[in-house]
Each structure stands twice: as structure tokens, then as C-alpha cells.
């Protein structure tokens, strides 16, 4: 859960440039299956980055980010299917809806002093209320969901060639990382981390905690909503059970917590590790069916999560920053 790092040195810069080149060149060497995987991996990296802003930096441990995700997906999709509004525009409307929902949550949480695990529970409640509502609301597709057309319409964020989706999502990842980096070194970032560490001490040091929470949650939500729009455009099908499910939420959190909450690259590292490991497991010559491999992966992930939380509380990227105090362990 760390730090605002100073600007990178030359070695890191060279590494970064190489990485960028590799990432941009990927669609030329990957086949259709792996390209789809790459898009999916990048999407989860993006969503983890979004969650990180609220959970990793501001300490707002939300289990309800799927609500923002759904807000984006449904808003842009409905605007497209009902009013022929291009999702390129619709995604801003979706972001707006996400931000609005976040502001409502943040204002109520501050007003009623809902913090810590109670805040987490409140966000769960929001999703648990939203899902049945969407399920029974036939005008927005109900439990059967909404299908998007399979056609090539770049003006409407619909491509036949997967490579284009890839570049869009990679662009979004870059934007999210940039936003995170900019916030981290700004006053908002310092204030958010201060609130995460000790809200009262932060307040007497001049941190306007209510405002900071609103801002961080709204930004996180707006970005998450854009992810929802992309999801709809790529997978061409949205349904309350899927977009408001527990699994997507867990993936957002897992990627961040294992990779390094409160860092810029942590969520990307964490969620990419998840994606790569899942694929590796399926490729192992053990004759596992994809379903079994997925189950084993999730099991391993549970083990990794427990191990990281106990021994590497800063996540993979937070590792170098401090050693775990054994004294605290012995106190129990």
C-alpha cells in the first residue's frame, strides 16, 4: 500500500519503451484465440487499475464496483440500441452515470459515517439491490440481457478485426495508468493515501476527507464505467448475472491486492499474472479440461491471496518497500 515514487531512472525508461513496443506489436504475432485472451487480460488489468484508485489509494474498499461497471455497460448499450448513439459518445454518458452513482454512495457514506468494513458491506448491498432490479426490469433487457449486433462499425466501436479492440483497451490501460500516476503525485493523491492511513490525523492536518472521498470514488467509478462500455462492445452481450456478478468484482480486487495496491503498475502486474497463470495451467500436459484448469487456477489464487496478505501486505510491487514485522505476528 505504498508510495508516491519519484520519476524513474534510465534503466526503467529503457525497459518501459521495450515493453511498449512489444505490447503494440502483439496483434501482429498472435492468432485469434490469443488475441482474444490478450484483450480479456488487458480489460481486467484496466478494471483493476480503476478499482485501485478507490481501494488501493483512498482506502475505500468497495465490493460494489460492478455497479459502476454495469452503469457504463447498460448506459452506452441502451443509448446505442435504442437511440443509435455511438458508444464512443455513450461511454461518456456511462462514465457520468457511474460517477453519479459513486457520488451518491460517497455522500451517504460520509453523512452517515459508514466506514471500513461497513462501507464494504454497504457497497455489496448496493449491488445486491441493483441486480434483482435489473433482472426484473424488462425495458432494459431483464434477466435475458441485451445483445449487441455483430458487425463492423468503427464509428460505433464495433470491429470485426479483434486487433482494433486490442488497441482500444491497451489505450484505456495506458490512460488509467497515466491518471493513477498523475493523481499519485498530486495533492489529491497524498490526501487520499492520508485518509486511507488515518482519517482523523489526516483531517487535523488539513485534509478535506469528505471531498477527497467523493472525488476518488467518482473518478474510479467513471473509469470503471468506461470499462463496462468496452466489455459490452467486445463481448456483445450484457446480462445482470454477468456484469453484476461476484466473480468480476473479485478479479478486480485480486489483481490489485496481489499486484500491489496503491501503486501504479501493481494492478496491471497482478491481473496479468492471473491471466497468464490461467492460460499456462490449461496448457500443461495434464489433460485437464479447461473447466478443471479454471477451478485449479482459482484454488491456487486463493492460496496466493492468503500468502500475499500474510507475508507481502504491500503486494508483489510493494515488496521492496518494507519487511513484514514479525513482532506483530507474535502478538496474537
Amino acid at each position: 500500500m505504498f508510495q508516491v515514487r519519484p520519476l524513474p531512472n534510465t534503466g526503467t525508461a529503457v525497459l518501459t519503451v521495450t515493453l511498449v513496443v512489444v505490447v503494440l506489436a502483439l496483434p501482429m504475432v498472435l492468432n485469434s484465440y490469443y488475441l482474444t485472451l490478450a484483450v480479456s487480460a488487458a480489460l481486467w488489468a484496466y478494471l483493476s487499475l480503476c478499482w485501485n484508485l478507490s481501494g488501493g489509494y483512498a482506502g475505500l474498499f468497495s465490493f460494489g464496483h460492478t455497479a459502476f461497471f454495469a452503469a457504463g455497460a447498460y448506459t452506452s448499450t441502451l443509448l446505442y440500441t435504442e437511440l443509435a448513439v455511438s458508444p464512443w459518445l455513450g461511454m461518456f454518458a456511462g462514465a457520468g452515470m457511474g460517477a453519479l452513482l459513486a457520488l451518491i454512495i460517497a455522500v451517504l457514506a460520509v453523512r452517515y459515517r459508514i466506514r471500513g468494513m461497513y462501507f464494504s458491506l454497504a457497497t455489496v448491498a448496493v449491488v445486491e439491490i441493483l441486480r434483482p432490479v435489473l433482472d426484473t426490469w424488462s425495458s432494459v433487457g431483464g434477466s435475458t440481457g441485451i445483445l449487441l449486433p455483430l458487425l463492423n462499425s468503427p464509428g460505433n466501436m464495433l470491429f470485426i478485426k479483434r486487433a482494433y479492440y486490442y488497441y482500444v483497451i491497451v489505450g484505456l490501460v495506458a490512460v488509467a495508468m497515466l491518471v493513477t500516476w498523475m493523481i499519485a503525485r498530486s495533492r489529491l493523491g497524498y490526501y487520499a493515501i492520508a485518509i486511507r492511513e488515518d482519517e482523523t490525523a489526516a483531517e487535523v492536518s488539513g485534509v478535506p476527507s469528505a471531498r477527497v472521498k467523493r472525488q476518488m470514488l467518482a473518478i474510479s467509478a467513471a473509469l470503471t464505467a468506461v470499462g463496462g462500455t468496452f466489455y459490452a462492445q467486445f463481448y456483445l452481450f450484457i446480462q445482470p448475472e454477468i456484469v453484476l456478478g461476484w466473480d468480476p468484482q473479485m478479479q478486480m480486487i485480486l489483481g490489485t491486492m496481489v499486484g500491489g495496491p496503491g501503486t501504479v503498475a501493481g494492478p496491471v502486474v497482478g491481473s496479468l499474472a492471473f491471466s497468464v497463470l490461467t492460460e499456462v495451467l490449461q496448457l500443461l500436459p495434464i489433460g485437464w479440461s479447461p473447466e478443471i484448469a479454471a477451478i485449479v487456477m482459482r484454488l491456487i489464487w486463493g492460496v496466493i491471496l492468503v500468502a500475499v496478505m500474510l507475508y507481502l501486505p504491500g503486494g508483489l510491487l510493494g515488496m521492496g518497500l518494507h519487511a513484514r514485522k514479525r513482532a506483530r505476528v507474535a502478538r496474537a
Binding site: 482506502g59 474498499f61 451517504l108 453523512r111 452517515y112 459508514i114 471500513g116 468494513m117 461497513y118 464494504s120 458491506l121 454497504a122 455489496v124 448491498a125 448496493v126 445486491e128 439491490i129 441486480r131 434483482p132 432490479v133 433482472d135 426484473t136 461476484w246 473479485m250 480486487i253 491486492m257 478443471i292 477451478i295 485449479v296 482459482r298 484454488l299 489464487w301 486463493g302 492460496v303 496466493i304 491471496l305 492468503v306 496478505m309 500474510l310 501486505p313 506483530r328 505476528v329 502478538r331 496474537a332
Partner: protein
């Protein structure tokens, strides 16, 4: 609406409410005694359910009877999980605890998936589909038995906390563990036992389930959320709070289910949880 429908719904609410209360009591115990948010509690219940299902499939052991086996096993497993993992997060932030216990839940869920597959399961004993009929009311026999068992178990838990030495030590540690340590109570030991007890209540709740509930490895989170809701509504410090919370939850669900649908009922329950979070998060019987 026939008045009998209302009574039926009330009965339904009380029956389910008792079972919910038992399911939540273990969660409340760990939260109260060691301030650990155990997001794997629901999974403990599910494991017990599958164990009892297994015993039924292999040796035709009646699920209610299998409690004799699942309870000691649960105590041992619970104590083991506590000593190996949870002991280290007692002093950590709730976020860390949630993450760790979610991890444990993930492990449990996927082990169960590998062992049993993802389908929903039910243990069909001779009485599973039998219903008691009183006047115009129908009561499913296994649910009634489970509810009675739940009430008895919670009552035993309450008595144990009230009258036994360990119980008093647990309550002292809940109130103020530093003071308890100074009074000579081995708080570490107390926490270990309390967690084992929590697992035991989960075992009793879980073992009853296969007789009337379609169990799946994915049910863990669902049970956890119910337990959490009950703790928010009823409070953590007192067993009676859990009972009140459980009954309220059962009745709310029954009422909403009668008036609308089960899904809306669930949404309504969470709306109530939100109200409580805003108004009185420590619960009806909790100390604000």
C-alpha cells in the same frame, strides 16, 4: 390474501429465521471476540453440508445424525485454520482480514468444486419431502427439524457463554481483551476455542442443509452475506441480538417473498441492511 397465507409466511419466517440465526452466530462470535471478519464463514457452512451429504451418499447416514461427526471435525479444522492463518491477522485491518478469509473461502470453494462438481445437491432421506399439515398450514418436516435444532444449538451457545468458565472468558475477551489478559485469561487460547466454536455452529447449520436446501459449492458467499446482514441488524455483542436479527431477516424475506418475488425479497433485505448501516450499524442490541 388469505389470513392463513400470512400465518404461513410468518411460520416460514420463523423457521428460516432460526436457521439463519444459527448460521450467523458463529460469524458474530468471531467478529465479537476477536474482531475478525470471517468472510469464509459461509464456506464453512457449505463444507459441513457437503460432508454430511457425503456421509449420506456413502453410508446412508442421516444428515442430522452426521452432526455427531461433522461437529468435532469442524472444531478441529476451525482451530487449525485459526492457528495456521487467522491468528496472524487478528491485529490487522479489516481489509486484510477480509482478503485473507476470502482467500480461504476461495480455496474451500474450489476444493469442493473439484471433489463434487458444480451441480446443486440435495440429500433425499425418507422424510425430505414430507410435510406436516396443521389446519391449512404446511410445514416441511426437515425444515422444522433444522429450525428446532438451530434453536437448541443457539440456546446451548448462549448458556455456555453465560454460565461456563470458558464462556465467561470469551465474553471478557470480547469486552476488553487487554483487561482480560491482565486478569489472567489466556486470550490466545480463548480466541482459538472461540473460533473452533464458531466452526461448530457452522457445522450444525451446514449439516442440516442437505435435507431441504439445494447445496452448491458456490453457496458460501450467499450464506456469508446473510450472516453479515444479521450481525448489522441484530448486533454482535449479544447472542440474543443474533437471534433477533435472524428472525427479522427470516420474516422480512417471508414478507417480501409473499408480496413480491424471492429476488425482490433479497433486494429488500439489503435495502434494510443499508438503512441499518446508516442508522445503527452496531445493531439493535449492540452498544453504539
Amino acid at each position: 390474501m388469505h389470513p392463513l397465507d400470512i400465518v404461513q409466511a410468518l411460520l416460514y419466517g420463523v423457521v428460516y429465521g432460526s436457521i439463519y440465526a444459527l448460521a450467523a452466530s458463529g460469524f458474530a462470535l468471531t467478529l465479537g471476540v476477536m474482531q475478525i471478519v470471517n468472510f469464509a464463514h459461509g464456506h464453512f457452512i457449505v463444507v459441513a453440508g457437503f460432508l454430511s451429504l457425503l456421509l449420506f451418499r456413502l453410508w446412508a447416514v442421516d444428515p442430522f445424525v452426521s452432526i455427531a461427526a461433522t461437529v468435532p471435525l469442524a472444531f478441529v479444522l476451525g482451530a487449525a485454520i485459526y492457528s495456521l492463518v487467522l491468528r496472524h491477522v487478528v491485529m490487522e485491518s479489516h481489509h486484510t482480514q477480509i482478503m485473507v478469509t476470502l482467500g480461504i473461502g476461495l480455496i474451500i470453494e474450489n476444493v469442493l468444486l473439484l471433489a463434487f462438481g458444480g451441480d446443486l445437491r440435495l440429500a433425499s432421506t425418507g422424510y425430505t419431502s414430507r410435510t406436516l399439515r396443521l389446519g391449512g398450514l404446511a410445514l416441511s418436516v426437515p425444515k422444522v427439524v433444522a429450525a428446532v435444532l438451530a434453536v437448541v444449538t443457539v440456546a446451548l451457545l448462549w448458556a455456555m457463554l453465560r454460565y461456563t468458565k470458558l464462556g465467561k472468558a470469551i465474553r471478557a475477551s470480547t469486552d476488553n481483551w487487554q483487561a482480560a489478559t491482565l486478569m489472567g485469561i489466556d486470550v490466545r487460547r480463548v480466541r482459538l476455542y472461540a473460533f473452533g466454536l464458531s466452526a461448530v455452529t457452522a457445522a450444525v447449520a451446514g449439516s442440516s442443509l442437505p435435507t431441504f436446501y439445494l447445496l452448491s459449492p458456490f453457496s458460501g458467499i450467499e450464506f456469508l452475506l446473510k450472516a453479515f446482514a444479521i450481525v448489522v441488524i441484530g448486533g454482535v455483542e449479544d447472542v440474543r441480538g443474533v437471534v433477533i436479527g435472524g428472525l427479522l431477516l427470516g420474516l422480512l424475506e417471508a414478507a417480501a417473498g409473499m408480496l413480491f418475488s424471492a429476488a425482490i425479497g433479497s433486494a429488500f433485505t439489503f435495502a434494510v441492511v443499508l438503512v441499518f448501516l446508516a442508522w445503527r450499524p452496531s445493531g439493535l442490541l449492540g452498544r453504539a
